[in-house]
Symmetry: C3
Subunit: 655 residues, 3 copies
């Protein structure tokens, strides 16, 4: 049981030193316990090569610590200063058109560049030595938002060299690589690893295996770049949490793998900015314009809690309008509180607002903060203060518990979907999100787990759509006698080498659970769908499946093909298409009940999250909703059954 | 009279040798007579520079020949191997932004590169020497799909050099070039051919004459690149057909000119992939989602039969969903049979499916085939077998005959339309397709002929819209006393140098047939059209025309301007705008009847093709249609008057 | 009082010399008084480096002068010839992707290139010496359409060098620059000016201050490039008008600053081409397809009259369909006359048609002219002749007078809006245009003035929306006791360094006039708007404002926030959002009447312009409209109260 905590991101270097003490005091007054600092300050820590100026940071830390605030210290490697770029121009990332990216914003480095890695190790080492054992510095953040602005992939000389080495390590011989990729196709065979280039600027699409390996390589660079820093920090900062702040709607590297080197997975939650970015329906965009997608925050909370082996923070929480989306509307009154409680309900130990005071200058000047640029306390400052008060007043503490439903998430499956969508509007993330929505529409709480053997152990219901190439070990670790397992569409569509399985999809391992063969894909234009015999429709993606003996067809399309299959015992299910929301919710609801789970029919705007004996209910819609039906057997600690827009209920099961 | 033949594309190098014999047997069982092989196999034919390994190809040919299969052998020049690219990097094509294209897919060569041409000549010579007189090798295919992935134009040093030479040859002096292009405009004058650059990356549009000449140059490179191969093949493979496989909806080089060096024009027909690509109406896209545009295949059959001087094959026929379109829906049941018979009805000697077995690896793994990757016989295998059987059962043989209607097609006119659309949605291909549709809506069969003097000889009705710059010789060869001639809009709009004719469009030659002057162009936004006095409307393009004495105005716009003109005898017609489908069909129907032709009013989904005494009827729609009215006087050999979706009728005139 | 004049643009070098005399005679017959020549003729004036061939130009000028025509002579610097580019390739502009732009069209030079400037000075000096005192050469045009085809910004070495110098001059020390830009943010600090690069190809957006300074630098280069020429011309051509022809809808440099070195601001008016380009509603695009936006021409007339300190010409007037828009429909009958009179009503001294004869060759061959390519007199020739006649018949002379309403226009505000739109569909020009429309909907005539102290002196109503960073001096020069002042939205949003003002927007200077603070921006998606309490709505942009004591809230949104504020005396107004057209017209109408002005409610298609005692009324719509109500107290000199489509009334107040 832990008490939910609040924090803020702060840039002392942006403000006159005489204002720091006042700032710290106002943070404490708002009930904040944590402050993140330092993550973009390289040019202030080392204004000239090798000349460190840490005195200001010493004083900033002391000033904050004097108010009892705990420091999350960021390494400044996301913003190498100009002198470093000029001394080592080959460190710049190179875009997919072969152009080196320039200085003038951030993240202008190439993950593959060994020289830049040495510079990072140097500055991190100096920082970690200096502050590693400082009592106020309770956690370290590596870098900032790995991959932001499409920076995971770099088409540089350093990447070319690194990729060849990586391939050599993986395949040992060019013949093995040629075989794995199928390079006999179009005479793409290599005689040595030195002949392999990066997959860009080709006449038409390059080999999907080539691209998948390059994505794996690029992801591995992020992992090792991060580990370089965590190793140094752990050496000098024993007992401190080492974290990184991930982003939303971003899959270009394997966040599970990076998280294996972290203590906590943290992420940056901007519900309204994301709504404008993602592919929501016009109706949904209008309805949730000022609160964000009702499932998107929770999805990411659950995903990153899974990455963090149960430990998750929101490192940056949107506090008002931001600056970076095409449109940046103001949040609805109460939205900041709604988002904060949603995070706690999903197990966040800490919610930290971004940022303390709105900067009047530079790129983010239109990004709101807890304070206005003139230091007036802004809406979100009061929101934070009130949340801190209600946590204290209600004496809220939160248990760390597991859900009953596991949704399997796999970054390689996301890459596979991008490399070979086959249907223009197919995205793995969209398919995952629809499955998540369908589970939540049944009032279910969900854990998101990696595609690793054993990760789904103990869950009553395991859902794994779109999982391109599950390992045999993962499939072998599923337990149909104890779990209802739901696969497809597109689960097992490929081998690890990005080929069609020898026994056709979903491949031999899955076929040992449910005897089916996917013989054909029907990829659908946006204007078309395939009606189902019992109402509803498939869109985007539909599979033609040949069931084996003993396989049952539970549902069919109107043209008579099966689309929902199960094994003889009804324990392993395969869905051969992307069903509409209502159909998917009904189907998964049935299967959840078959797995022994209780389901609830949720109002379109309400969302529910159970945490052991605690139940949280949220109203994302513009109207007041009566949630009494989903609070039966619960007593409310915060809020009441009649939820106003942005309303929050925290309740406790009546024993 | 020839018997229609079936074939398949096969890649023995993709499969274990022990499977070849079984493959060959199954091909024979399906009733296939031809197999195309070898066209991407360079890295297997010459894995190391100068070391040829043809033994596997020898064995593959023997294995296929042992089943009586006839071989179409492809030259492998569309996929130069990596060692060749590394030895000669300047051979890479360069894109319109000046970036050399990279290895990793196919067609990465520049047509202008002399060094690469020498390498091509070498490998083709070796192949032709070895297999030229092999009895089973009955035909040769040069390269593969010239121009695919926008590879006709290259902005390389080789192209720059070649273009200057070509201009020097054409114009002899810079002064002549300056005059022809009008380079006095904007001070674009050159003092020597060495000053001329390729028309790319300029501040705003370059001189249209400059671009047209560059397109002519680029097209000429394809012609000479192809001829280099055909010359070698003919030397070593006497009596064999030399062919190339063209694409659909592709006009970047002059296919008539390339075909002049071939025996047969073949093309690759992907009806569903094309539907998703081209600019069809949403309603049309939905209705024909699983069969393709009812006119597009036939149009290309007729076009390529024209290119091939009467001889045409479908070298690659879509057998199921493909992988390269934005969406790739499954064909309707019966669609493969429909497409195959459409090709035969249009005079195809051979329809060859692409490909034998779905490759489980590399770029085209989602492209279906006659066999699934696990060798299961797939839908199209059965379709092929059934078609072969019905040909044999009904004893079908096909005559080679001419249609009564000629539609004049000109690649230079397509380039002119792209270089200077003037109205955003103007495309020459679109205008041609609409004219073709309007003729077919009258039940007419059409020959597509080049814009060459005499090519329209003997046709009762000659239709030539959008023909930018017809030669005087072509116009002089028309015979208004024997033919009804339909020109415009945009026919004769330019001189050969891409200037407005001195006597205004349509230029003096046409004006000697019909006395009109086009004084103004009204280019229309998508939201607007010009209503006609008698119903219907013009869209995209409308001309203001001054008729001379004796010229008759047959139809007017609602605002009183003439749009359909004819000479005093009513034999030469000019249409001053792009009319809607119904108006165009009515107009061309009237003129066909005036030319003495019988017309039929076709149901929207039915299409008809006459081949001498034989009549073919096809149903492209989703409903059963009664075709009795268009089968009066015919007896059916295959199918009956009530056509189910994808239904085919082959009938014989009752004498 | 001046008599309105007509002219034409002519290219004698495009035509056989023997045609010149006939041309000149036909110009005189049409009633034209001015001819612009020479502006693209460099390759004919200096075909070889240093060898001048001016004899043809001598003869052309004599031929024209012999008919009494007055010459506007253009300098040819917009089209440097190929030999110059080859001798000095670094003179080429470089695009935002780092690619040098190529020869083959026009404007391929970089404004920052000192070598090219020397060449320009040389050719201008030679021309000015030769023709400066020629009696027929009454005016000089510098270059042509500065900035056309996005050529103001160049990312060249020359620009990089120049920008660093410019910054050094402006900031004196890197520390000052770092402070001004807020470079502590993201470690963007520089140690020397040599470290500063151009703001392009960065990973994500660069510092807005960086971009604003680069835009200022780029604009300054246009100013100094132009001044280089005007200085030379003035030295050799005393008493002649020096002009430049600006474009419509173009803001990439400061036209006020360039105009300070000119005698007359001229511009090129293409009403239909612009309609297709700009962001008009579909309904508006359809209604005005053949006449252009009813306010856009007038807006630019008023803007450029402001640039020219009261003197304005239309240097190029669209005479028929053009070639460069996505669609190029024919103008409605009467449209050319309508446009011509609109220009005169707005104070144009001269309207010059582009061009004399349609060129049959090169890029603009589809651009109509007064004559067809075959020298047939075209529609616009007759229109010009008739206009000249009606001017003479009615004895029209025009006074130079000021309007009562000033709309403040600022190029830096346009740049600020582009650099940081914050809401995707925000554009400064759109906001200005909506304000202008709203004023015109009240029958008001408007002067457009620069954001300079004193520029709004003497106006009863001053409207300044979106004025990002007004100087304190400008604000101090406003006179609330004499003027009604209307500010916002977004007025005063930034400091000169592109930061949020220390006292929050609209900044201290404006806050001394009206005590408000903008605390939050609500940037709205296209699908959303904020309803107002009294009907109507705000879209795109809405501000949350904290009013000070004494500030009145005149109107509120439906959710209770103020949006229209005024000071205690009701003299200074601030609008906190982008209101719909009807609301804005009603609001500005009220304020105009409060300022003592008479307003009229205009029919949607009618527009009115007063010039002292003269009143002009125009009908832009497709139907006849009775304008009697707005002509009360006037007697008509040309036209009558019942205005047919494209109808024009010139009336005189009855004393």
């Amino acid at each position: 049981m832990t008490t939910p905590l609040l924090g803020v991101c702060y840039y002392p270097e942006h403000w006159p030193e005489e204002r720091w003490a006042w700032d710290a005091q106002k943070m404490r007054e708002a009930g904040l316990s944590h402050v993140r600092i330092g993550e973009f300050a390289w040019s202030r820590l080392e204004a000239e090569p090798g000349h460190y100026t840490f005195d200001w940071l010493d004083r900033a830390i002391e000033t904050l610590a004097a108010q009892g605030l705990k420091i999350v210290l960021g390494t400044p490697t996301a913003t190498p200063p100009k002198w470093l770029v000029d001394a080592m121009p080959s460190m710049l990332g190179v875009d997919a058109f072969g152009r080196p990216r320039t200085f003038g914003s951030r993240r202008h480095y190439c993950f593959s560049h060994q020289g830049y890695r040495r510079e990072c190790a140097r500055i991190v080492e100096v920082l970690a030595r200096r502050y590693g054992s400082h009592p106020a510095v309770v956690a370290w953040q590596t870098d900032n938002e790995y991959g932001c602005h499409d920076t995971v992939e770099s088409y540089s000389e350093a990447a070319r060299h690194g990729f060849r080495e990586w391939l050599q390590q993986k395949y040992q011989s060019p013949e093995a690589l040629n075989r794995a990729w199928g390079n006999v196709f179009w005479s793409m065979e290599y005689r040595s690893f030195e002949e392999v280039d990066l997959p860009f600027l080709a006449v038409t699409e390059t080999n999907p295996s080539h691209r998948l390996d390059f994505q794996r390589y690029s992801s591995d660079q992020v992992v090792s770049f991060n580990r370089l820093q965590t190793d140094i920090i752990r050496r000098h900062a024993p007992g401190r949490d080492v974290v990184h702040n991930f982003m939303g709607w971003f899959t270009a590297f394997d966040h599970f793998a990076v998280s294996d080197d972290l203590d906590v997975a943290t992420w940056d939650s901007y519900p309204i900015g994301f709504l404008d970015r993602d592919a929501n329906s016009p109706e949904r965009r209008a309805r949730y314009m000022r609160v964000g997608d009702p499932d998107a925050q929770a999805f990411h909370h659950d995903l990153y809690r899974g990455c963090g082996h149960g430990r998750m923070w929101v490192m940056e929480q949107q506090p008002g309008p931001v600056n970076w989306a095409p449109h940046n509307p103001a949040p609805a009154p109460g939205a900041v509180r709604l988002w904060t409680w949603e995070a706690f309900a999903a197990g966040a130990e800490l919610v930290s607002y971004f940022r303390w005071r709105q900067a009047p200058f530079a790129q983010e000047q239109m990004h709101e903060a807890l304070l206005l640029p003139d230091s007036t306390l802004n809406e979100a400052w009061y929101a934070a203060r009130d949340i801190a008060a209600e946590i204290a007043d209600a004496g809220i503490t939160l248990p760390q518990v597991r859900a009953d439903v596991a949704l399997v998430f796999d970054y390689e499956a996301a890459w596979a979907g991008q490399i070979q969508p086959q249907a223009q509007s197919y995205t793995y993330l969209g398919l995952m999100m629809d499955s998540y929505r369908a589970l939540r529409a049944n009032g279910l709480s969900v854990d998101i787990v990696p595609a690793r053997a054993g990760a789904a152990d103990g869950y009553s219901l395991v859902v794994a759509p779109g999982l391109s190439a599950p390992t045999d070990a993962l499939i072998a670790s599923l337990k149909p006698d104890e779990q209802i397992i739901v696969l497809g569409p597109r689960t097992g569509a490929k081998t690890a080498d990005f080929a069609i399985p020898a026994t056709l999809p979903p491949g031999a391992a899955i076929q040992s659970l449910i005897d089916i063969k996917v013989r054909r894909i029907d990829s659908l234009p946006e204007h078309a769908s395939v009606p189902l015999a019992d109402g509803g429709a498939l869109s985007v993606w539909r599979e033609f499946i040949v069931p084996g003996a003993g396989t049952q067809v539970l549902a069919r399309t109107a043209d008579g093909e099966g689309w929902h299959f199960t094994d003889a015992d009804g324990r392993v299910h395969y869905l051969g298409g992307w069903a509409d929301g209502a159909t998917l919710a009904a189907t998964l609801g049935d299967l959840a009940r078959a797995a022994g789970l209780d389901t609830l029919t949720m109002h379109r705007d309400l969302r529910l999250r159970d945490l052991g004996e605690m139940r949280f209910v949220f109203n994302h819609g513009p109207e007041t909703v009566d949630a009494a039906a989903v609070l039966e057997g619960y007593e409310t600690l915060i809020g009441g059954a009649l939820l106003a827009p942005c309303g929050v209920v925290v309740a406790q099961r009546v024993i």
